[in-house]
Amino acid sequence: MNRLLTKGNILLILGVLFLFMVPQFGLNKFYMHIVILILFYAAVSGSWNILAGYAGQLSLGHAIFFGLGAYTSTLLLMKSGISPWIGMLVAVGLCLLVGALIGYPCFRLKGPFFTLATLAFSEVIRLVASFWKELTNGAVGLNIPFQPGWSTMMFRSKEPYFYIALVILLLVIAITYWIDRSKMGSYLVAIREDEEAAESLGIPISRYKMYAVLISSGLAGMTGVFYAQYILFIDPEAVFNINFSVQVALISIIGGMGTVLGPLIGAVLMIPLNEILRSAFSGLNGLNFFIYGFVLILVVSLIPNGILPTVRNWLKKATAKKKGTRQVVANPRNGGEQVDSAN
């Protein structure tokens, strides 16, 4: 038996091939834009998922890293003409540094207070970015001059953006998959479920939380660089926005936190919904986010584990029924909460 040619792996390869073929389907610009947004949001949300979904650190300051990424590459390009590809490396380095600086003190806080601290950090950075006019041009924002070419990561057509977003997303998914299967994943989940128990079992919790925040912030920074080159305009309100952090979290929560493909599923469902609502009710500002909020409440109240784990549980239960055995399915990704037929 060839271990590399299992059913799962073949499906995976076919899936990735399918994704690479998407630009050949003749989608118009609008649909390509939505597809790119899906890939982009799935990638940002996937980076959040590593820290929040696996390590259980519910950050609402992910915009910090996203924004840092966007500003770093943009400033390097506009002030020194340095290619965003190099800017991306610098941005990731900077995000690792800032991630460590914020993570180290904040990891002493738990639950909502960790969340509040990340929110506060995010606001401080937004305010500083608005204030530091010489560097960031303040609230006016930065318009990135359009100079198409691979070295500037700017393109007339949507295809190259699609491929860059896809590669970033695949990187996020691959890293998440690796974490999920490795010892690190088990450690992180143990930390998420019960930090004290994890510590008493000898898991170096501070070190593993730090790994999670570093991976997560580095990837988020990368997505920020992509965003700046795609939209060609950044300002503090857009890239250091709390609502953006919330939206990123929401996508993972809906798809399923602490799962490899949850963020992608969340993005596939929510981004088109968002865009459809926005174009259908363009006169009605806020309707799309109103519905986001509504969906968020519904999902956390009704299926707190998100769609992917819930569907998996149904399937397991259905197969168990077929076999004539009744079993309680405990979801390992969910605090051992028993998701049995009583729910």
């Binding site: 207070f113 506060a120 929560i253 500002n285 806020g286 109103f290 968020l296 956390v300």
Partner: protein
């Protein structure tokens, strides 16, 4: 010197409003053990209701305050019953994101109805000041501050002396024991959430003659309220009150000494420092902190 006095006084007066908002948030946090991320939106709603009373019937924000307070009490009870009660036994993620979802919904509902314009009311007393030597004290701010003190005292007396107040404190301290003593814990949750929302309703009414209302006005104040609650200590009404005044003061001084653009950044930095070095707050009762994640 007079200028410094002026700054200090305005800071303390603004602190009164912060204290009112924070006391509501703190009551909900201390009793129901939930961080209401939509608390700022409750403030925004009460400001819009106050604004509506003004433009529809010409009712002064101070006169409509009792109605706003009552409406917010009912709204708070409704939210507690429909959204909060069912998720009380769940994980931190669910609790955080349910109230965040509510916050997003309310903010965007306001955006749909009133769009992003800044709206304000115009009253005769709005710009009137009392002069004490070289120091000018704004009348609406002074009123807001006086009411904040009054409410703080009333709330304290209510919690200390009435049967209901004692029941609320009992639930805050040890809800299992309280429930064994025959206290209807769910009812107490409902009332505490209602009172917390009513306090915000009052804050909104008092704020309307001083400040603009717009859909995201809550974000501005709720983050301050979080700072105050952590600074003052969870579950401590006195802490929330003093914390509110302290933050008002810090904000005013930072606005002058550092820069108006960075004054909020300054108190967030204080917030982060307090979280890191004294997460139980300056006046904490320490009860139940572990449940909401402070230990």
């Amino acid at each position: 010197m007079a200028q410094l006095m002026q700054i200090i006084i305005s800071g303390i007066l603004v602190g009164g409003i912060y204290a009112l908002i924070s006391m509501g948030l703190n009551l909900i946090l201390g009793v129901v053990r939930i961080i209401n991320f939509a608390h700022g939106e409750f403030l925004m709603i009460s400001m819009y209701i106050s604004f509506l009373f003004f433009v529809t019937w010409g009712l002064d924000p101070y006169l409509s305050a009792p109605i706003v307070v009552l409406l917010l009490f009912i709204f708070g009870c409704f939210v507690q019953r429909i959204i909060i009660q069912p998720i009380l036994e769940t994980s931190a993620t669910v609790k955080i994101f349910a109230t965040l979802g509510l916050s997003i919904m309310l903010q965007n509902l306001a955006l749909m109805i009133w769009n992003a314009d800044y709206r304000t009311v115009h009253t005769a007393y709005q710009t009137s000041v009392i002069r004490l030597g070289e120091v000018a004290i704004s009348v609406p701010r002074l009123i807001a501050f006086a009411v904040a003190i009054l409410i703080a005292v009333a709330l304290f007396l209510f919690l200390q002396n009435t049967l209901m107040g004692k029941a609320i404190r009992a639930v805050a301290m040890e809800r299992r024991a309280a429930s064994l003593m025959g206290i209807h814990v769910k009812k107490i949750y409902l009332i505490a959430f209602g009172i917390g929302s009513a306090l915000v309703g009052l804050a909104g009414s008092l704020l309307m003659p001083i400040y603009y209302v717009f859909p995201t006005v809550g974000t501005l104040f709720v983050l301050t309220a979080f700072v105050v609650v952590v600074l003052g200590g969870m579950g401590s009404m006195l802490g929330a009150f003093l914390g509110g005044i302290l933050i008002g003061l810090v904000e005013a001084l930072a606005g002058v000494w550092i820069s108006p653009g960075l004054k909020e950044a300054v108190y967030f930095v204080i917030f982060i420092l307090v979280l890191l070095f004294r997460p139980s707050g300056l006046f904490s009762l320490g009860k139940g902190s572990e449940e909401v994640g402070l230990k």
